[in-house]
């Protein structure tokens, strides 16, 4: 639709793009989905996002209950409140999905991500990188005379901030796991 230069929310345009009664504000939400760990389950979830045109900002998946064959998929997505509601409802009706929680909407939660960053350089830059890594509590997991690989865990914005600092100091490669998240409290 975007190729047709149609303004969203105005009249006389595509029925598929008209959401006049809904808010236009884009929000980022972290959604955690407990699924049966069976072949194709990740494809079902990803296929839902691509098929219906939703965004995926980050996605992590791993088995979390070996005996119960359950995996947890953590998805960070952006959309209007109505789209976020649709995403949750659509996820909920996938037969292999056991449970859907919107951590952003359901109170406070902990979000963590692990990143590996390779920084090449020598002299002052190398010293500065090491000093900043110390401030961020990043660990050195590999080193040559002209490079480091730092390992850093934290909330995504902390990792963004560290990457921004490393860029002028010789950042050459970044690998990130995507967000893993749980709600705070007892349940």
């Amino acid at each position: 639709m975007s190729a047709l230069q149609i303004k969203k929310g105005s009249s006389k345009h595509s029925a598929y793009n008209l959401r006049p009664t809904f808010s236009d504000v884009q929000e980022a939400h972290t959604i955690t989905v407990l699924v049966e760990n069976e072949p194709g389950v990740l494809a079902r979830v990803i296929g839902l996002f691509s098929g219906r045109g939703y965004n995926i900002d980050s996605l992590t998946v791993a088995e979390v209950d070996h005996e119960g064959h359950l995996s947890r998929i953590t998805i960070v997505t952006t959309g209007t409140p109505q789209v976020i509601e649709q995403i949750k409802a659509q996820l909920g009706r996938i037969v292999s999905v056991r449970d859907v929680h919107d951590l952003t909407a359901e109170g406070s939660s902990v979000e963590r991500e692990l990143a590996l960053m390779k920084v090449s350089g020598s002299g002052d830059k190398r010293v500065e990188a090491l000093r900043l890594a110390d401030i961020f509590r990043a660990q050195v997991v590999d080193s040559t005379l002209e490079s480091f690989i730092f390992q850093l865990t934290g909330a995504p914005d902390k990792i963004d901030a560290f990457a921004d600092l490393m860029r002028p100091l010789g950042l050459v490669q970044v690998a990130r796991t995507g967000v893993a998240a749980l709600s705070r409290g007892t349940a």
């Binding site: 047709l4 029925a15 109505q82 409802a89 909920g92």
Partner: protein, 584 residues
Amino acid sequence: MTRQMTGAKMVVQALKDQGVDTVFGYPGGAVLPIYDEIFQQNDIQHILVRHEQAAVHAAEGYARSTGKVGVALVTSGPGATNAVTGLTDALMDSIPIVVLSGQVPTFMIGSDAFQEADTVGITRPCTKHNWLVKDTADLSSVLHQAFHVSASGRPGPVLVDIPKDVQFASSSYTPKPKAPVGHYQPQVKGDMETITALVEAIETAERPVFYTGGGVINSGPAASQLLRELVEATGIPITSTLMGLGSYPASGKNWLGMLGMHGLYEANLAMHGCDLMINIGARFDDRITGRLDAFSPKSKKAHIDIDPSSINKVIKTDLPIVGDVGHVLEDMLKVWKARGRKVNREALAKWWRQIEEWKQVKCLSYKGSETTIKPQYALERLEALTKGRDRYITTEVGQHQMWAAQYLGFEDPNRWMTSGGLGTMGYGFPASVGVQVAHPEALVINVAGEASWLMNMQEMGTAVQYRLPVKQFILNNERLGMVRQWQQLLHGERYSSSWSEALPDFVKLAEAFGAKGIICKDPADLDDAIMEMLNHDGPVIFDCLVEKHENCFPMIPSGEPHNKMLLGDAQATNAIAGKGAVLV
């Protein structure tokens, strides 16, 4: 005691345990063991179709007309890919079917083997759920789950892909009650607080309207009964989507007719002008809503749906009720009765007077002719001559489908089989085969256009082989009528590829298959010709040559709201202009 058997035998055993009496299918290398088992028993009849797409549509027709789960059996590769259109059709219209596909043996999967396709990958987005069974020990359990998932909650198509070595290997059979289905149990009871709020709204509403859909029919005959009771008791007008026709009888006094793009004037204006809209088992499809920002602007909207994702998908709802239509209607009636059976009688009477005024527009009137058969006239005569009979109607897709919805009356649910969501040309003929198999004594008519009908005409072979007396009532305008209509309204009357050139002689075609063909082009002969079709005990192709340039009205042009309906050709020039043109 566990019973050991081969995977192929498990398939037949599971089908029997699920109460299946009919399978529509087409054999091939990867399903030969299953066909061998089918050969050696008599409880399940196999209907050999002529194309896998037709097997799935026939299963849909069977399911829609019986309320049971329909079953199709296809081979790997092309068999499975041919089933994709039928699966998508069933997904869009929420029809419960189980498709069993053969697959190359497990040790060959991924090797680009002969007739290999990634069937679960291809069908993942067009099924409610699907399974690739890699171990015979899991097969019977998966088959029982498949039936459960297909029929529970919002019904839909499922597919079980069974590699050939899994069919040959033996394991112990899991009987139906032991299959693990516990975690998939969609909510059927609605929230009582919201139901009470809806009843309160009904009590005070001045201009209420029921807007019902296919969900009422999917919920079962009891839901239709409850709906009738509620409508009669409250005196509220009712309209329905294409998929919901028959849940409330067309002869009922509160019936407004179908709504939507080609819906009735009074139904659409009632939707536009109401102050309380009660959506029961419909999904605010774009054929219904028209322009969203002008859709029923002054109404409070209630929405009853078993699928939570239908709620607030396109239209914001004030009273959302997630639950099965039958259960929710039962609770609604209970609450409404307990609160003293109140409605706003005075305002309702005024509302009905307004509706009567709209009815006076007589939006279905058309210009008759003594020389050519008008398609509307053909359907009026078909209706008159088949009324009161044990009748099932299927349709293809296009103008004839809309005319059938407008001019035929449906008194009961499960009597009307049509492709609504996907709009699949070629659906009607195989669906009529499925319906006739399920109801051997009934009158089954497929109202068709000649272009749609040709898409699955090979099923004449099936109809003749199984002596299925399906009547193919073809409104032949030698055009892709709906395409031609849109080209007239939207594309400057440039009729690009919408002319059915080189049509067959349908009478000779029927005879070539060993069936009866009838041609009719004079309105004076029409009644006799229809009677000849009805009286013939066997399949008939009825070639009804109709007016070639008739347009289907009323019509809401795309991009317009309900109150901007076109009632006839005079208004239709340049009706769809500018940016409305991007809509389909």
